[in-house]
């Protein structure tokens, strides 16, 4: 159902959508059964003149079976949900498939910095490409990310990838994703991070190989107009006197000077 609202742009998005569907079927069944019973009983046993209520303590087996048998079924369905869920979870969060490329994602109040590993596939080398609020990835390549934060908690959230992970200062959290569909998608901060939390967005662009190489070259020679720069002139309403960027050690400023 989720895919009616959001693109399905990563390899595991389908798994999550299917898990959602399975749980919807199971709990939908229970919901309508229980809700139906509730409504039926309310209507069936409304007060009528001369009809006295029955005396049922609900302690005998013949009575309690009405609540216990459904209850055993609930347990069985719980086991199904747990099993499927753990399979999906282990795939997405607990295992790291072999990587094709690497990107470092750094959250700070209130922007995202991205360091693309470049052709050699290693970070902290000469060919790294740094961008602000603009992440570029190639379709059908498995990416590992190193998620860091420079100040408070942030959350790297890409709805189209069905991906979310908190960034914790002082830690590097690794994870992976594999984009499958080209396009530009929203990337948001999903953990309250202060005054500018509401504008801490970025764009993630999934390229084909050719377009990826062109874009990377453009970024390196300074001719690329980033998502960040395009947005600068547009209508986003945000009071200008609220920026708390500290010029001395701001990573965003440092990165911006790279261009």
């Amino acid at each position: 159902m989720i895919e009616y609202f959001v693109h399905r742009a990563s390899s595991f998005a389908g798994d999550i959508d299917n898990l959602f569907l399975v749980i919807t079927l199971i709990i939908g069944f229970w919901f309508f059964l229980t809700f139906g019973a509730l409504v039926y009983l309310i209507i069936r046993f409304r007060r009528k003149e001369g009809v006295k209520a029955q005396y049922i303590a609900g302690e005998k087996h013949s009575e309690t079976k009405w609540t216990h048998y459904p209850h055993y079924a609930v347990i069985a369905m719980d086991v199904v949900i747990i099993a499927i869920n753990i399979m999906v979870w282990v795939d997405i969060k607990q295992t790291l498939p072999p990587r094709d490329n690497l990107v470092r994602i750094i959250g700070q109040q209130w922007s995202w910095s991205f360091i693309h590993a470049g052709p050699d596939g290693e970070l902290d080398t000469q060919d790294d490409v740094a961008t602000v609020n603009d992440l570029h990835v190639q379709t059908d390549k498995t990416y590992h990310f190193e998620l860091q934060s420079r100040d408070v908690l942030h959350n790297f959230s890409v709805p189209a990838f069905r991906l979310r992970q908190d960034a914790v200062p002082g830690r590097t959290i690794s994870g992976w994703f594999k984009p499958t569909k080209t396009g530009t998608y929203d990337l948001q901060c999903a953990e309250m991070c202060g005054y500018g939390h509401g504008i801490m967005g970025a764009a993630i662009t999934v390229h084909s190989e050719e377009s990826y190489n062109t874009t990377m070259a453009q970024i390196q020679n300074g001719t690329y107009e980033s998502h960040f720069q395009k947005r600068k002139g547009t209508k986003t309403k945000f009071p200008s006197n609220t920026s708390k960027v500290d010029d001395e050690d701001s990573f965003a400023v440092l990165l911006a000077s790279v261009f």
């Binding site: 609202f5 798994d15 959602f20 199971i26 009809v51 979870w89 200062p169 609220t242």
Partner: protein
């Protein structure tokens, strides 16, 4: 205890309760009923503030950047402050004081048949500390920098470093207010447990205690067992803010995740702390208005124990993607989904109580039934979020928001109205207007669903919480999503307008309503055996209990109820 000794005791005890001056009766009371009402009224005033905050930020979401009538411009800082304090107020200053402290105080001595709490002065102190905490919270909205805006979970380092939160004193006063409030409820909690254990009417065995009292006591035990870590955490956070310690700062060797563990170790039992009192109140109301014995009294009770026990080992489901080891999540998925087992059983028992009943749709019963229906939605959607893999998509999205509003709104608001309309005759000695009560019920229940059902859809669309303006995100700025936001906001305004009906009904009935008989609902529990309102000291003759609280429609009896204190023929 024999009846003779009970009567002797009663005589001495009646002498203690002479008329008091206005100051000692209403301002510095030791009477549990007045203290309970102080809590309830304070909670209701805070509910108005919380509702007003909801109105302001919902207007901003529906009409971003516009001036909000009766508020003004909601900028990002104000927005954060409004959502943070809306959550804080509704949970800590409405649900807790009204449902536990308020109705706990009012009901426990009356329902177990004693003259007052065993520690009346401690009870008064508890309310006074609570009042101070309320004032501290309200002060925090007006200090330089504005109220705290780091979400009601107040995750550090945002909440612990003023340079990050930009609300230096707002954050400190916020955490101070929360800590003070917990101190207050700890004092109240000791009182509730001791009173229920020691001061029950002669003849009242454990299994004769009404579920409403039982559940408040279980809730208080949960609260007292879980709140310690949070108070410790609050002190550490306060020291981080004001003394420069670094318990939660990685740069000083601390760990931000520590706070999350402390907070949620309290925070998840807290859900059941507020749920159980409402569940208990609803059990009593359903039983009375369907004229039925509760289906499986012991089962219901044991499911509450099981839920309470399990609630201590599920806290990390709030942190699946917070940076904890992913393997830990699997354990917490199992425990979280397990909670559905006792709660499903409890729900089934409530619904089974209706079977074979003679259901009368008085206003309290409408509230109680609507609680079951809406809490069912809140409960089943919790399964989605207990599944860690789906939490990857739903964490901190509007799906979570809609889910917990489908639990907290029924618990807090519906539960509060159910209890108020049910015990109003006992509190004020007058009946509420039924017609106005039903208008208010439908005017609240329908808009409530119109607010939160659409928010599930927004959650599916990937909309995150605590964002003050979705126009910044191309995928979320679509007009059809904006229409959903506007619909939810309009529903909220309708809901808020209908609350005036309640306020009118409440105050007019309090002074001009029809005089209430002692037992207007033909209920069994002890509070209905005394006059309405009960005198100071509650009972002219302390009651003796002969049977369980739910003997309705007993075969072979002419009356369809059988009060607990009525001697057997």
């Amino acid at each position: 205890m024999s009846q003779a000794t009970a009567a002797v005791q009663t005589d001495t005890h009646a002498e203690h309760h002479e008329e008091l001056s206005f100051l000692y009766k209403y301002i510095l009371p030791v009477d549990h009923k007045i203290i309970g009402m102080q809590y309830i009224f304070t909670g209701m005033i805070m509910a108005i503030i919380g509702g007003y905050f909801a109105y302001a930020f919902r207007m901003q979401l529906a009409f971003p950047g516009e001036l909000v009538p009766l508020y003004g411009l909601v900028g990002p800082g104000e927005y954060n402050m409004l959502v943070t304090n809306h959550g804080t107020i509704m949970i800590f200053w409405v649900a807790m004081p009204v449902l536990i402290a308020g109705f706990g105080n009012f009901l426990i001595p009356l329902m177990i048949g004693c003259d007052d709490m065993v520690f009346p002065r401690l009870n008064r102190l508890s309310y006074q500390i609570f009042l101070v905490s309320t004032l501290v919270l309200i002060t925090s909205f007006f200090v330089a920098g504005g109220g705290f805006g780091g979400a009601w979970t107040s995750y550090p380092p945002l909440s612990s470093v003023a340079e990050y939160s930009l609300t230096d004193w707002g954050a400190s006063l916020w955490i101070l207010a929360v800590a003070l409030e917990f101190v207050s409820f700890l004092l109240g909690g000791i009182n509730f447990i001791t009173t229920t254990m020691n001061a029950r009417a002669p003849g009242m065995k454990w299994m004769d205690i009404p579920i409403a009292v039982w559940f408040i006591v279980v809730a208080v035990i949960l609260f007292m067992a879980s709140v310690g870590p949070l108070v410790a955490g609050a002190v550490m956070l306060f020291m981080d803010q004001r003394l420069g310690t670094t318990f939660f700062l990685p740069s000083g060797g601390g760990d931000p995740l520590l706070w999350q563990h402390l907070f949620w170790f309290f925070g998840h039992p807290e859900v059941y702390v507020v749920l159980l009192p409402t569940m208990g109140i609803v059990a009593d109301i359903i039983s009375v208005f369907s004229r039925k014995k509760l289906f499986g009294y012991r089962t219901i009770l044991y499911t509450a124990f099981a839920t309470g026990g399990l609630s201590f080992i599920v806290w990390a489901h709030h942190q699946f993607i917070a940076g904890i080891d992913p393997r830990v999540a699997n354990v917490f998925v199992v425990t979280t989904v397990l909670i559905s087992i006792p709660l499903a059983e409890m729900m089934f028992s409530y619904i089974a109580t209706l079977y074979g009943g003679s259901i009368e749709f008085k206003t309290p019963m409408l509230w109680a039934l609507s609680f079951l229906a809406s809490f069912l939605i809140g409960g089943v959607t919790g399964i989605y979020l207990g599944a860690s893999a789906l939490d990857i998509y739903f964490h901190d999205s509007y799906f979570v928001l809609a889910h917990f509003h489908y639990t907290f709104f029924p618990i807090t608001i519906i539960g509060m109205f159910a209890a108020l309309t049910y015990w109003f005759p006992k509190m004020f000695g007058r009946m509420m207007n039924e017609t106005l009560g039903k208008i208010h019920f439908w005017g609240t229940f329908v808009p409530f669903n119109c607010i939160f059902l659409p928010l599930f859809l927004l959650g599916l669309a990937g909309q995150n919480r605590r964002v003050y303006n979705f126009q910044n995100y191309p995928d979320l700025a679509k007009q059809e999503l904006q229409d959903i936001r506007i619909f939810a906001t309009v529903s909220l305004i309708v809901l808020l307008l209908f609350q005036f009906v309640f306020i009118y009904n409440f105050f007019v009935s309090m002074f001009k309503g029809e005089k209430a008989p002692n037992n207007p609902w033909n209920a069994n529990t002890l509070e209905w055996s005394t006059s309405s309102p009960p005198p100071h000291g509650n009972f002219k003759i302390l009651p003796t209990v002969y049977r369980s609280a739910y003997e309705y429609s007993v075969p072979g009896r002419e009356k369809d109820y059988w009060p607990q204190n009525e001697p057997p023929e």
